[in-house]
Amino acid sequence: MANVQDLYRRYANAIAQLDFATLESIIHRDFVLDYPQSGERFRGFASFRAQLENYPGGIPAAPAGDPTAKVVGDDDRWAMSPGYTVLPLAGPERFTSISRVPYPDGTRWWVVAILTVKDDQIVQSETYFAPEFDPPEWRKDMVEIVPRD
């Protein structure tokens, strides 16, 4: 099983750099990309590539090494056998990536993707786009505000 941190890093960098050769090597032949917010579904690498190539203003992408980017659900997993030996488990089949990307209009959005891995490739992505917003007035004194930059 592929290391998901490495797989995600290669996937994100290939998108940011429009490196379609690398991207195609990472994308499973049964790849499906869903945007639940708009109901769009892209099937296969060609469909995904067409979207990236035609994105108005250039594809928004997190800069390489973005400290806000992270992967959730990639913890090493293990099991205890009846003989009390610890057995490492294969990597997870699904994980969640989080990154923050700048758009051509200057806004920044959090991108949360639930990714499924099959045959060491990404076979499914369910991606959500969440805009930044200011803390609402009515509760801003109830919470701690963490600087976003």
Binding site: Q37, G73, W110, M142
Partner: protein
């Protein structure tokens, strides 16, 4: 171990919808920290409850239908030992939960929550709120509305 994370999250979602602070307090860890990365807001369990109690929608009746909660990474996991016995795996502690909500202004949002559990309770939650959007690419791209 037969811990059911989905059931926990569904109870949590129902309690939030009903503003059932007693149940909420019973489901969150004493050291709970919630975070809204989009606005930078961070809060503990007391402020979380206060926030729910003071949410500016006015008095309302509890809704009968709470959107379903889908939990990612709660698959039953197992491993085959060298002796070919099947051993269940220790449950994961981190989950991604996906649900949706309709706000008082009628807008629909997807909510994706990264949850970390400790001692069977919600210990950390990072919540992302994603609005329903029109498909910007229309029919000009090889996609389809799902």
């Amino acid at each position: 171990m037969t811990f059911d994370a989905r059931q926990l999250f569904e109870r949590f979602a129902r309690a939030i919808s009903d503003r059932d602070v007693v149940t909420i307090r019973g489901l969150v860890h004493p050291d709970f920290v919630g975070f809204y990365p989009q606005s930078g807001e961070r809060f503990g369990s007391d402020l979380f409850v206060t926030q729910l109690e003071q949410y500016p929608t006015g008095p309302r009746e509890p809704v009968s239908d709470v959107p379903p909660v889908r939990v990612v990474s709660d698959d039953g996991r197992w491993v085959i030992t060298p002796a070919y016995t099947v051993v269940p795996l220790v449950e994961p502690s981190k989950y991604t939960a996906v649900t949706s909500a309709v706000y008082p202004d009628g807008s629909e949002w997807h909510i994706v929550i990264m949850v970390e559990l400790r001692e069977g309770l919600i210990y950390r939650s990072d919540s992302y709120f994603a609005p329903v959007l029109p498909a910007p690419l229309g029919d000009s791209m090889p996609s389809r509305r799902g």
